[in-house]
C-alpha cells in the first residue's frame, strides 16, 4: 500500500564537504543513506529518517544536517499534523500505534513552575567547596522511634535492611532485552563506582553482572522473566513492578526479534519468542495478594533486603500507596506520566497517568497524615531531567529519584522515540549485535558517573544556598519551594505557597 505519510525530516548533504566515506551509510540503522558506486554518490531515503542525529555526529567532514521538513498542512488547532498522521498510519496498518520513550505532549511540567529558596542575611548560605555537604540517603523502612537498653547507650532498636546511596539518584528499571547488555553493564558499573543502584527491569540479570549485585535492584514483574533464587540472592533489593508511568495498566511486549540467545537465557524463555508480560500480576488481584507476594519475597530473601513496590502514578496513588505500605512495602516507587518505556501503545503513553510532581506531594502528605511515612521510603520517577528536578522532588517529599531517560541521554540517546523498533542507531535500545557494540561499557560507565557527579555537585550547591548541609533537612521541606503561575488548587495539592507570599 502506498503510504500517505510524508517524510518528517530533511537530510541536507553538503556535496562539497562529502567525501563519500560512507560512514553515514554504515551508521544509519534506519537505512536512510545509501551509496551508489556506479555514480559515486550518497543518496538519502528521507522517509526513513527518525532524526536521531547519529549520522550528523559521526560524519567526519560535518557534511550532514538533519532538519524538520518544512511541509505544512493547512493550519488547524484541532486536526494537528500528528493526529492526521496517526490516523493515516492506522488506516494503513490496522493496529495499535506503538512508540518509545516518554510522553511528549505538553502537559504542564510542574518542576518548571517551582522555584527554590536561598539564604540571605539572617542565615548564612553554606559553601559546599569549603564545608561538608551530605547527600547520603538510606532507603527502607524505619522504626518510629529509637529505643536504648535500660540505663545505657546501647541500642535496643534494630533497623530493617536499608539501601545506602551516596546521592538521591538511582537508575530506573531498563530491562535487558529492551536495552542491550552493554547498557546494563554501563549502568551496573556506574552505580557501583558512584555508590548508587541500578534496576534490572523485568528482563532478569545477565550472569556477567552478578558481581555488581550490591548495587543492583532486581525486578519481579508480571511476566516473572528471569526470576530465580540466585537472582534474588545476588541483589541489594527486590522491586515488585505493578505499573510503569509510560503505560499504566498494561503489560510489556518484547518482540521476538529482540529475544536473542543471551536474552533468552537470561529471561528463561525460548529464543525468538515474544515476551508478553501480562497487564496485572495474575497472583495479585488486590492488596492482600500484594502483601503475600511482598512477604513471599521477604521469606525468600530471609528478610535481608528491602522490598520495593513500583506503581504508575494514577488518580488514587495516595490511597494505593498507603495500602502498599500497610501491606509491607519498604520502599514505594512512583512513576509519573512522563516516565519512559522501550515500547508502549502511543494512546496509553500519551493519555494515562498523572504528573509525578503531584503524585509525590499527594503520597507524602497522605502517608504523613496516616502516621506511616517512616514505614516506607518514597522514590520518584518519570521525567527527572536535571539536578533542580531532583532537589524539587526531594523538597516535595521524595527520598530519592530514579532516572531513566536522563541516563540514556548520557549514553548517547537523542530521544528520537524509536525504541520500539529495535533499530536504535545509538546501540542502546536494541539487541542487534552490530548495533549494541556501539556502546562501550568503559565509556558508558564514565559518562554515567560524570552525570551523577555533576548533578551531585549542583544539588550540593543548591542545598548550601538554602543554608542546610544534609539532604534530610530538605526532604519534605516544602517551605523551601515557591510556585510561579500555579492555581490555588495546584498549590494546595503540592503543599507550596506562591512566590512572593
Amino acid at each position: 500500500m502506498k503510504t500517505y505519510i510524508p517524510p518528517r525530516f530533511k537530510v541536507e548533504r553538503d556535496q562539497e564537504r562529502c567525501i563519500k566515506c560512507q560512514v553515514c551509510v554504515n551508521q544509519c540503522s534506519f537505512s536512510v543513506h545509501s551509496y551508489d558506486a556506479e555514480v559515486d554518490e550518497v543518496f538519502s531515503r528521507e522517509e526513513n529518517c527518525v532524526g536521531c542525529h547519529r549520522c550528523v555526529i559521526f560524519c567526519p567532514t560535518h557534511a550532514l544536517n538533519i532538519c524538520k521538513t518544512p511541509l505544512d498542512y493547512r493550519e488547524n488547532a484541532n486536526w494537528r499534523p500528528e493526529i492526521i498522521e496517526d490516523i493515516i498510519r492506522q488506516a494503513e496498518s490496522g493496529g495499535v500505534l506503538l512508540t518509545g520513550m516518554g510522553n511528549d505532549k505538553p502537559y504542564k511540567v510542574y518542576w518548571d513552575h517551582l522555584v527554590v529558596n536561598a539564604s540571605q542575611v539572617t542565615n548564612p548560605s553554606i559553601d559546599p567547596l569549603r564545608e561538608p555537604m551530605e547527600l547520603r540517603t538510606y532507603l527502607g523502612r524505619k522504626p518510629e522511634r529509637v529505643e536504648l537498653e535500660r540505663g545505657g547507650l546501647k541500642l535496643k532498636t534494630k533497623v530493617a535492611p536499608q539501601l545506602t546511596i551516596e546521592a538521591p539518584i538511582m537508575f530506573s528499571a531498563l530491562s535487558y532485552g529492551a536495552v542491550s547488555l552493554n547498557v546494563h553493564e554501563s549502568l551496573a558499573r556506574a552505580a557501583s563506582e558512584f555508590g548508587t543502584l541500578f534496576n534490572t527491569g523485568e528482563g532478569g540479570l545477565h550472569r556477567k553482572l552478578y558481581k555488581y549485585g550490591k548495587n543492583t535492584i532486581v525486578q519481579v514483574a508480571s511476566g516473572r522473566y528471569g526470576v530465580h533464587s540466585e537472582y534474588l540472592d545476588v541483589a541489594a533489593a527486590v522491586e515488585i513492578k505493578i505499573g510503569q508511568g509510560a503505560k499504566p495498566g498494561i503489560g510489556g511486549h518484547l518482540p521476538g526479534e529482540k529475544v536473542s540467545a543471551e536474552v533468552s537465557a537470561t529471561r528463561m524463555i525460548p529464543a525468538g519468542t515474544d515476551a508478553l508480560s501480562p497487564a496485572p500480576h495474575h497472583d495479585i488481584y488486590s492488596i492482600e495478594d500484594l502483601s503475600q507476594l511482598i512477604y513471599a519475597l521477604k521469606e525468600a530473601t530471609n528478610y535481608t533486603k528491602p522490598i520495593i513496590v513500583k506503581i504508575a502514578a494514577v488518580h488514587n496513588s495516595a490511597a494505593i500507596a498507603s495500602g502498599m505500605v500497610r501491606a509491607g512495602a519498604d520502599i514505594i516507587a512512583l512513576d509519573g506520566i512522563r516516565g519512559s518505556t522501550g515500547a508502549a501503545p502511543k494512546i496509553i503513553r500519551d493519555n494515562v497517568g498523572i504528573p509525578i510532581e503531584l503524585a509525590i506531594a499527594a503520597v507524602d502528605t497522605r502517608l504523613r497524615q496516616e502516621g506511616i511515612r517512616h514505614q516506607a521510603s518514597l522514590v520518584a520517577a518519570g521525567g527527572i531531567r536535571c539536578a533542580a528536578d531532583v532537589v524539587k522532588a526531594v523538597a516535595l517529599g521524595a527520598d530519592a529519584v530514579y532516572i531513566g531517560t536522563a541516563a540514556l541521554i548520557a549514553l548517547g540517546c537523542t530521544v528520537c522515540q524509536q525504541c520500539h523498533t529495535g533499530k536504535c542507531a545509538w546501540g542502546i535500545c536494541t539487541t542487534d549485535l552490530s548495533l549494541t557494540k556501539r556502546i562501550n561499557p568503559d565509556i558508558g560507565t564514565e559518562r554515567l558517573v560524570n552525570l551523577l557527579r555533576g548533578w551531585s555537585h549542583e544539588i550540593k550547591d543548591m542545598l548550601g544556598g538554602m543554608g542546610v548541609n544534609a539532604l534530610e533537612s530538605l526532604r519534605g521541606n516544602r517551605l523551601h519551594l515557591r510556585a510561579v503561575g500555579l492555581s490555588e488548587k495546584e498549590m494546595e495539592i503540592l503543599g507550596v505557597r506562591h512566590a512572593g507570599d
Partner: protein, 377 residues
C-alpha cells in the same frame, strides 16, 4: 480582624527569623541565688538584641508550691481572663492564684495583664493519661482556642518572665532580681520580621522545659511537619517552638538522654561516624536514619533547660556563637565570653565548645537527695 500585637508573625511568613543573645547559669550544688547576676550578664550583650524581646527562665523559684504546676498567663484582652479562668477551673484544681508582681519600667509599653496560677491536675486528669501530657494538651487548648490568652510558662517550681523590651527593662518590670533560683537562663532578641509580641519573646516554655534560641533553622519546614505527625501543633511559627517540641518528643516521650537528643539535632557527619567504633556507628547511623527529619539544620545556638539540667548546643558547623565556662559548682553558657567574665572574673575554665557538642550542666545527686530540689523522674 487580627490584633496584630498579639500575633507573633503578622506577615504570615513561614517563620520568625531572629538573631539573639543568650545566657545561662546553673549551680550544680542546687544553691539558689538571685537573678541579679544573670540580668547584669545579659545586659552586657545589649547590642545583640533590638528591644523587641527579652526574657528569663528561673528554676527553683517556687519551693513552697513545688508540687503544683505554675501556669503563667498573659491576657491581652479583658474578656480573655474570665474565659480562661472558667477553663482552668473546669480542668484543674487551683491552689493559689495571683497577679505576677511587676513595677513600672522604662521601655515597657502596653504590657498584657499577667497572672500566675498554681494548679494540680488531680482529680481532673483521667486515669491512664500522664499528668504532663494532660497539662500540655490543656495549654495547647488555651493557646489555640482562647482569644487573647497565652500561657507562657507551665512547669513546676520554675517560671518564665518575658515580654517586649530589652532584657534589662523586662527584668526591671518583672522584678526578676527578687526571685532566687539555682538555674537561670536569659535571652535578648533581635527579630527581623515581626514587630515583637509578648508571647513571642524567649525563653519559650512547655511544662518545665525552656528553650532560648539564637538562630534560624533552615530545616524548619520538615522539622515542623515531622512533629505534627506526633500531635505537636506549631502555633507560633517560630523555630524555637520546634526545638522545644523536639526536645519534649525525644527526651520525655521517647525517653532518650539529652546527650543522645543532641546527636539527633546536631548529628556527626557521615565521615565522622565512619571513624567511630562499630557500636557507636550503629547508634549514630540509627539515630540519623530514624530521626532524619529532626536534624536542626542552619545556624543556631540553643540553651535548653529543665528541672535540674541545662544544656547548651550549637548547630554542627557552629554558625552561631557559644562560650562555656566553669567556676566551682557553677556552669555558665553565653553568646559572649565577656558577659561571663563580667559577673565571674575568676573562672576555673572557659572554652568554646565544638559544633554539635552538647554542654550539659546537671544538679549533683547530693543536691537532689538532700531534698533541696525536686528532681523530675
Amino acid at each position: 480582624m487580627k490584633e496584630l500585637e498579639r500575633v507573633n508573625n503578622p506577615h504570615g511568613d513561614d517563620k520568625v527569623m531572629d538573631a539573639c543573645g543568650l545566657f545561662g547559669i546553673i549551680d550544680t550544688s542546687g544553691r539558689r541565688f538571685s537573678g541579679e547576676a544573670v540580668i547584669q550578664a545579659i545586659t552586657n550583650m545589649h547590642d545583640r538584641g533590638n528591644g523587641l524581646g527579652g526574657g528569663f527562665a528561673a528554676y527553683g523559684i517556687y519551693p513552697e508550691m513545688a508540687d503544683h504546676y505554675c501556669i503563667h498567663i498573659m491576657y491581652a484582652t479583658p474578656a480573655s481572663k474570665p474565659e480562661t479562668e472558667v477553663f482552668l477551673k473546669r480542668h484543674f484544681t487551683i491552689a493559689q492564684d495571683e497577679e505576677v508582681s511587676t513595677r513600672k519600667a522604662r521601655g515597657i509599653v502596653k504590657p498584657p495583664v499577667l497572672w500566675r496560677y498554681f494548679v494540680a491536675a488531680e482529680p481532673h486528669c483521667p486515669e491512664g493519661v500522664a499528668q504532663d501530657d494532660y497539662v500540655i494538651e490543656r495549654v495547647m487548648e488555651i493557646n489555640t482556642q482562647i482569644e487573647g490568652a497565652f500561657v507562657f510558662s507551665s512547669g513546676k517550681d520554675m517560671g518564665v518572665f518575658k515580654g517586649v523590651g530589652f532584657p534589662e527593662d523586662i527584668a526591671d518590670y518583672f522584678r526578676v532580681e527578687e526571685y532566687k533560683g539555682y538555674l537561670w537562663t536569659a535571652h535578648s532578641r533581635f527579630p527581623t520580621n515581626t514587630p515583637g509580641w509578648w508571647g513571642g519573646a524567649h525563653p519559650f516554655n512547655i511544662l518545665d522545659w525552656t528553650v532560648s534560641h539564637n538562630g534560624e533553622i533552615s530545616s524548619y519546614g520538615i522539622n515542623r511537619r515531622y512533629l505534627e505527625g506526633f500531635g505537636y501543633h506549631c502555633t507560633m511559627q517560630t523555630d524555637t517552638e520546634v526545638v522545644a517540641y523536639a526536645v519534649d518528643l525525644l527526651v520525655r516521650r521517647h525517653g532518650l538522654p539529652i546527650e543522645i537528643a543532641a546527636k539527633v539535632f546536631a548529628p556527626p557527619f557521615w565521615d565522622q561516624i565512619a571513624r567511630l567504633t562499630d557500636e557507636e556507628q550503629e547508634l549514630c547511623r540509627t539515630l540519623r536514619q530514624v530521626y532524619a527529619s529532626l536534624l536542626l539544620n542552619g545556624p543556631f545556638t540553643v540553651i535548653i533547660a529543665h528541672q535540674g539540667e541545662m544544656i547548651g548546643l550549637t548547630d554542627r558547623i557552629r554558625l552561631r556563637p557559644l562560650t562555656a565556662a566553669v567556676k566551682g559548682d557553677r556552669l555558665y553558657l553565653s553568646s559572649e565570653e565577656a558577659s561571663i567574665r563580667l559577673i565571674e572574673p575568676d573562672l576555673d575554665r572557659a572554652w568554646i565548645p565544638m559544633g554539635g557538642e552538647p554542654i550539659v550542666g546537671r544538679l549533683k545527686v547530693k543536691a537532689v537527695e538532700k531534698g533541696k530540689i525536686k528532681a523530675r523522674a
